[in-house]
């Protein structure tokens, strides 16, 4: 997997490169918008990670150009501003995800992984993990052939975890995707709901499916 990082802050660019390479990605680094565009045209990338405030060509101007030639390419934007309007504008501009600085690297990594698997994550097919089956259409959940009653939020949370099976999802990602909100206060709520879910789908079954990733979030895997 090859990622193009366009970031003018050298130190940020460096730790991004280092961290992503440690995580097994191939990384190309561009320090301004112009260089970024040249590199983008010169090679095939699986994902573009760019800062919105870039010298020469800003991220705002870069996104439409990238979109034009590669409509399906995942783009994640970084910015030092977090005003709500920026956020809305960012998503309107056509980037797929958006992270405000400072961000946790684990968070970024989780979002990159989520974007790279994006295509597979949608659909109405049954979602499975070991003997757990979730039917998004009938809104039914069963484990080892036994139907389990879940509240709406619990169902949405489990569906999100299953769609990101084997991946780490951060509390922030859960809040944004399951609660459709972006407040810090909610991250505590996530822990509580994970507990509920564990009590219903993991207690008394083997193997355990929901795992805590310390300091980062959760992961559902067999």
């Amino acid at each position: 997997m090859k990622i193009l990082v366009i970031e003018d802050e050298v130190k940020v660019a460096n730790f991004l490169k280092k961290g992503l390479e440690q995580s097994g990605y191939e990384v190309d680094l561009a320090l301004d918008g112009e260089e970024g565009l040249t590199m983008f045209r010169g090679a095939e990338y699986d994902l573009v990670l760019l800062d919105l405030m870039l010298p020469k060509i800003s991220g705002w101007d870069l996104i439409p150009q990238i979109r034009k030639s590669k409509p399906a390419l995942p783009i994640i934007a970084l910015t030092a501003r977090v005003a709500v309007e920026d956020r809305v504008q960012g998503l309107n501009l056509g980037c797929d995800d958006y992270l405000a600085k400072p961000f946790s690297f684990a968070e970024l990594l989780a979002r990159i992984q989520a974007q790279l698997r994006r295509g597979a994550a949608l659909g109405t097919a049954e979602l499975k993990a070991a003997d757990l089956i979730l039917d998004p259409l009938k809104r039914k959940v069963q484990r080892a052939g036994k139907f389990i009653d879940l509240s709406n939020k619990e169902f949405a949370l489990l569906e999100y975890l299953l769609r990101n099976k084997d991946q780490i999802v951060t509390r922030k990602m859960i809040v944004e995707n399951v609660w459709d909100a972006s407040f810090d206060n909610f991250t505590n709520v996530v822990d509580v709901y994970i507990n509920y879910l564990r009590n219903k789908i993991d207690r008394g079954f083997e193997p355990r499916l929901i795992h805590t990733v310390r300091g980062v979030g959760y992961s559902l895997h067999e």
């Binding site: 946790s104 684990a106 300091g215």
Partner: protein
């Protein structure tokens, strides 16, 4: 726009001041004019009367006294002339006794019989006005006559009907009195019209100003009126706007720069720390330091984020997206979500019948404010307690109440809880993970929605927070 009484307007005051002053001036001029006319007409009248009296006396003097007091000495022509010439006369001696004479007109004789001229008969000189019982107004001149060596002297009282003069004066008075309100009404309406015309440019300036928000401060007021006063107002207004706009821009630019300058190093610190922590070969003590750094960074990030949010919000940037929102729906959502957290602490969130009430607001920010308050209630409640959420209409406002029976707030801290970074109990609050800016942001959100927030609290008894937001009719 607020509806205000017309009485407070400059236009109203100008037109009434104008009207009253004009009315007073006209009333003064009118009454002095009236006074002059009546005085003058009286003088003229008296002069004529005296002339008549002298003429009359001189005629009487043509014959000896004994004769002239009988009709014999006067020809019928004379009698007729006298009757026509002076219909009202009476002659007395110096003692006020009427000298009988056939020349008295029937009217005078009747009056004498009725005693109407009693006061007049004692007069020996000068003028006298009198009003007969039938309302006729007379003016008499009294003139002595007769030879000075002769003891038999007489007084001729010669009168004229003043009715016509009086009537004219009366008309003048009536016209004067009735014209005052008319003039007042007329001058007020003219004043209203003129003031309206004069104030129109100012009204236009005010209308433009009303449409200004912090977002369109670069609007310059244009006016088609080129009067110097209006131009001056518009110019000073525009230059004020320009300065305001510049300082707003500076603040915004500063906020953006501050955000960038604070966030970038934080991002670098956090990223490098995290990546360093991923290395498997770290000694345990270094790992502990890095982990601790990350915790502090997280706290620093929260504070910076909240500070920047507040700064951005208060720089006047319109970050709210207002539309009518159902408060009950938001509260139900939040209660459902936070109930899970509350149960962890053996707390129960209760709400009694949330009516459907709407406010004009930004769903996201209102949610954020309410979430923050419910979160606080959960944090500071005692295990096993309840949190009561209420929603009701109070006049034109929607009142949201959040009440807990927790540790409460000391009365000395109460006035300061909305202050930035204020902590009632630093040791305890920090472990709860807040930035110290939550309530400042809540207060800003409420006030940006033209609402009010009130807090009542007693230590160890609990806290009640009330938010009032302007209601929107469904």
């Amino acid at each position: 726009m607020m509806k205000t009484s017309i009485i407070g307007t400059l236009r109203f005051r100008l037109s009434w001041t104008h009207g009253i002053i004009i009315s007073i001036v006209i009333a003064c001029v009118g009454s002095s004019h009236y006074y002059f006319i009546s005085h003058k007409s009286q003088k003229d009248f008296d002069a004529h009367l005296l002339l008549d009296a002298r003429l009359f006396v001189s005629r009487l003097s043509m014959t000896p006294v004994a004769v002239r007091l009988s009709t014999d000495g006067l020809s019928p022509v004379d009698v007729l002339t006298i009757e026509e010439f002076v219909p009202y006369f009476v002659i007395t001696n110096l003692n006020g006794e009427v000298v009988p004479c056939d020349l008295y007109s029937k009217y005078v004789q009747e009056m004498l019989r009725l005693g109407e001229f009693k006061d007049l008969l004692n007069q020996t000189s000068g003028f006298m006005s009198l009003t007969a019982a039938d309302g006729t107004v007379f003016r008499f001149a009294n003139l002595q006559t007769g030879d000075s060596q002769n003891s038999s002297e007489f007084v001729v009282h010669l009168g004229r009907n003043r009715e016509q003069v009086e009537a004219t004066l009366r008309e003048a008075r009536i016209i004067g009195v009735y014209s005052v309100p008319l003039i007042l009404a007329l001058s007020v309406s003219i004043g209203w019209f003129l003031a309206g015309r004069a104030l129109k440019p100012f009204d236009e300036v005010a209308q433009t100003a009303e449409h200004l928000t912090t977002e369109n401060l670069n609007t310059q007021i244009a006016t088609r009126h080129n009067e110097r006063e209006v131009q001056r107002l518009v110019q000073s207004f525009n230059s004020m706007m320009w300065r305001l706009n510049r300082s707003f821009q500076q603040v915004r630019q500063f906020n953006a720069d501050a955000a960038h300058e604070l966030r970038t190093p934080l991002a670098i610190l956090q990223g490098e720390n995290e990546i360093a922590l991923r290395s498997p070969s770290l000694p345990d003590d270094v790992r502990a330091v890095l982990a601790s750094n990350l915790e502090e960074l997280d706290r620093l990030t929260r504070v910076v984020n909240d500070l920047l949010t507040l700064a951005e919000a208060e720089s006047g940037t319109e970050i709210l997206q207002r539309k009518p929102i159902e408060v009950s729906a938001i509260l139900r959502d939040l209660i459902e979500e936070m109930s899970a957290l509350a149960e962890e602490r053996q707390l129960k969130i209760e709400c009694r019948g949330l009516p459907n009430l709407r406010v004009l607001g930004d769903d996201l920010w209102i949610r954020r404010a309410l979430l923050n308050l419910i979160d606080n209630s959960i944090k500071y409640s005692k295990p096993g307690g309840i949190i009561e959420v209420s929603l009701k209409r109070v006049d034109s406002m929607v009142q949201i109440g959040i009440r807990d029976y927790g540790i409460g707030i000391d009365s000395k801290d109460l006035p300061r809880i909305f202050d930035r970074l204020y902590r009632a109990d630093p040791a305890r609050s920090r472990t709860k993970g807040g930035s110290g800016l939550g309530l400042s942001i809540v207060k800003w959100i409420v006030e940006a929605h033209r609402g009010q927030i009130k807090v009542h609290s007693q230590p160890d008894r609990g806290t009640t927070v009330e938010i009032l937001l302007p209601a929107v009719e469904a």
